[in-house]
């Protein structure tokens, strides 16, 4: 009798625990779904290959061992335009310290991106994501969005919105290979 009572207790506890955990997990992930992108900090950065305006191919996996400062932008986006000169400054500071800067434009025309680049005097590599596949695989919602990718190829940080020059410098420092 006592045996069966104990058994009953364990069975009931187990069933209730499994159900509760399953439900709490479901609700938690449903409620937080919108707020978290599919990519999270700490995830492996999805590989891509894009050709920049100069015709050089940039493949993310080729930069293993270096930090990559990956910026998604558009010419119509005002905060993008504001932060780009600062990015350009820091690009020169960190490019020889193993931090690669790459700005990915979301599907605009060559002409527009070129004119933007020239009028703002940008020197870092800019590539155009013509079929929006890189944008999709990085789940870009607002522009600008910046991904800090560390030398291991993992996402160190995701920054949504405009950055100051100090921010940019700090971020580049963060992914500098040691």
């Amino acid at each position: 009798m006592a045996q069966s009572k104990k058994k009953r207790f364990y069975i009931r506890t187990a069933i209730l625990a499994v159900l509760t955990i399953a439900i709490v997990f479901t609700i938690y992930s449903n409620v937080t779904k919108e707020k978290n992108a599919v990519l999270r900090e700490g995830d492996k950065a999805p590989d891509f290959a894009l050709v920049d305006l100069e015709g050089n191919e940039h493949r993310l996996s080729d930069y293993k061992g270096e930090g990559v400062f990956l910026n998604f932008w558009g010419t119509w986006c005002k905060p993008c335009a504001t932060e780009m000169p600062a990015m350009d400054n820091q690009y020169h500071v960190y490019k020889d310290q193993g931090v690669q800067t790459l700005a990915i434009n979301i599907g605009e025309s060559q002409l527009k991106v070129n004119s933007f680049k020239n009028s703002h005097g940008l020197t870092f590599p800019i590539a155009i994501d013509q079929n929006k596949s890189v944008m999709q695989s990085y789940n870009i919602a607002p522009l600008p969005t910046t991904f800090l990718i560390n030398p291991d190829g993992r996402i160190e940080k995701i920054i949504k919105g405009e950055m100051t020059e100090q921010d940019i410098a700090d971020f580049m420092e963060q992914i500098k290979p040691s």
């Binding site: 207790f9 009931r12 506890t13 399953a22 596949s133 999709q136």
Partner: protein
Amino acid sequence: MDKIVCTCGNVNPAGTLLCESCGRPLNKETAEKKLVDMRYEGSARRSQTYNKTIIDKVWNFFSSVKVGVWLIVLILVAASIGTILPQVFYVPATTEEDIAAYYERIYGTFGTLYYKLGLSDLYSSWWFQGLIGMLGISLIIASLDRVIPLYKSLKKQKTKRHFSFLKRQRIYGIGNIENGEESIKKAEEKLKTMRYNVKREGNALLAERGRFSRWGPYINHLGLILFLFGVMLRALPGFYVDETMWLREGETLYIPKTEGYFLESKEFIYETYSKEESEEVFGDAIDRVGTIAKNYQTNVVLHKGPEGAVAGHLDDLTFEKEAAIQVNKPLKFDNFSVFQMDFRLDELASMTFQLQDKETAESFGEFTINLADPKPVYELSEDAKVEILDYYADFTGFEDGVPQSQSPLPNNPAFLVKMYTPEFPKGETSFVMIKETLEPLGENQHKLAFQSVETRDVSGLTVRKDLTLPILMLGGVIFMIGVAQGSYWNHRRIWIQQLEDGQVVVAAHTNKNWLSIKKDMDAVSEVANLPKYEDQQDEDSKAEKEEGV
């Protein structure tokens, strides 16, 4: 609590109301009732029997039908509140502020309150999902708690039941008849032809039919549980994809979340019903409503990138298939479906200009700008060309003398151009918009005269993958089987017994459909000469009889 030993010798679990074997009432309360409660055969629902630890208490809470009904009612009320105003996903706004502003603007204070209370996104709120989760727990526990004792007690039931059980059945009759033994035998044969499963034990008879319908409720609950489980799985990564894409005619875009699939739009087709084709039948409706849409369709080509290609890849796409995506006819591949959901007609695609002399209107040639990819220079002849210095797809005006574009969509294209002609080999600068031209560096002699535009349509497509569908389907099918089994069949039992004093007792029970069991009883009585039964719950017939109508 201890087990209850019945006078007949059967050992019943604690909490049993009617002896599983002979049917004697096992406590005073049951014994005092005129009719027995047959809902769970008087078996001991496990939950009611133990109530010691907190786990038992939680278990009993969820096992209660009362709690289950309350949960159903709460979900029902909550769900109805969610339909008072449109939910956020039907609201034409995306950011939090815009949504709040929308509710305020359209629905006033009530709208703001509705939004602030979170009712505008009620169905994805933690508490609503929590209610559904609790209902799921209740489904599992309540079923477990009932189906096992019910199964046991139906299995253990004896053919010979105690008189006290029989006389408390809703359909019951007793009387002296000649040759009782003979009657019971006749009844047995008749019942067998009526597809009853008949058992004998001495001078007692039990005829039973449709017992499997008793499992219906538990099977349909199983189906529901499976369905809810399927819904839960969508929370796991990889099971569920829901993306949208805007695809322009002529464009090839990566299909979000797929393994290297690309979609090219050949053409978007929008058709309406014309009066000519169906004047007779639809004429009135078209007259009243105006245009009625007939078809939304995107003709597409599905491409696949090479194995192992990474994002950003443009070349080496291989043709997979051509398809026409229509409403109700999605494109399907690899667990993915692409649906025709929305469209925008006539987005500007290209503009044609003529370079001409303002006064003489002499032309130096025409050129067409592809708005998705303008070229830096358009050569018109040996000594005339137009250079595009900058391009503003969605021009909104100047800010500190700098032209602004608010989006990359060619809603209002504007160009900063330099026009080279034999007279002006250094070029004249002009700012060309759709309807007007500015000359920022002084009066020009030449202009770009707008000739024509070409437009293209944009298809709004939804990309969906849902690996939980088979589970949901299975849940639905099992639910339907269970619910049909429990609703369209019924469990009937007829007891006939000759008591020691020679009187014959008849009694019958069904979980529903009393009309049919009465008919069965009548049919048996006809051949077997059994005592008259009466429906002990039917007040009307009794009253009628007493009145002598």
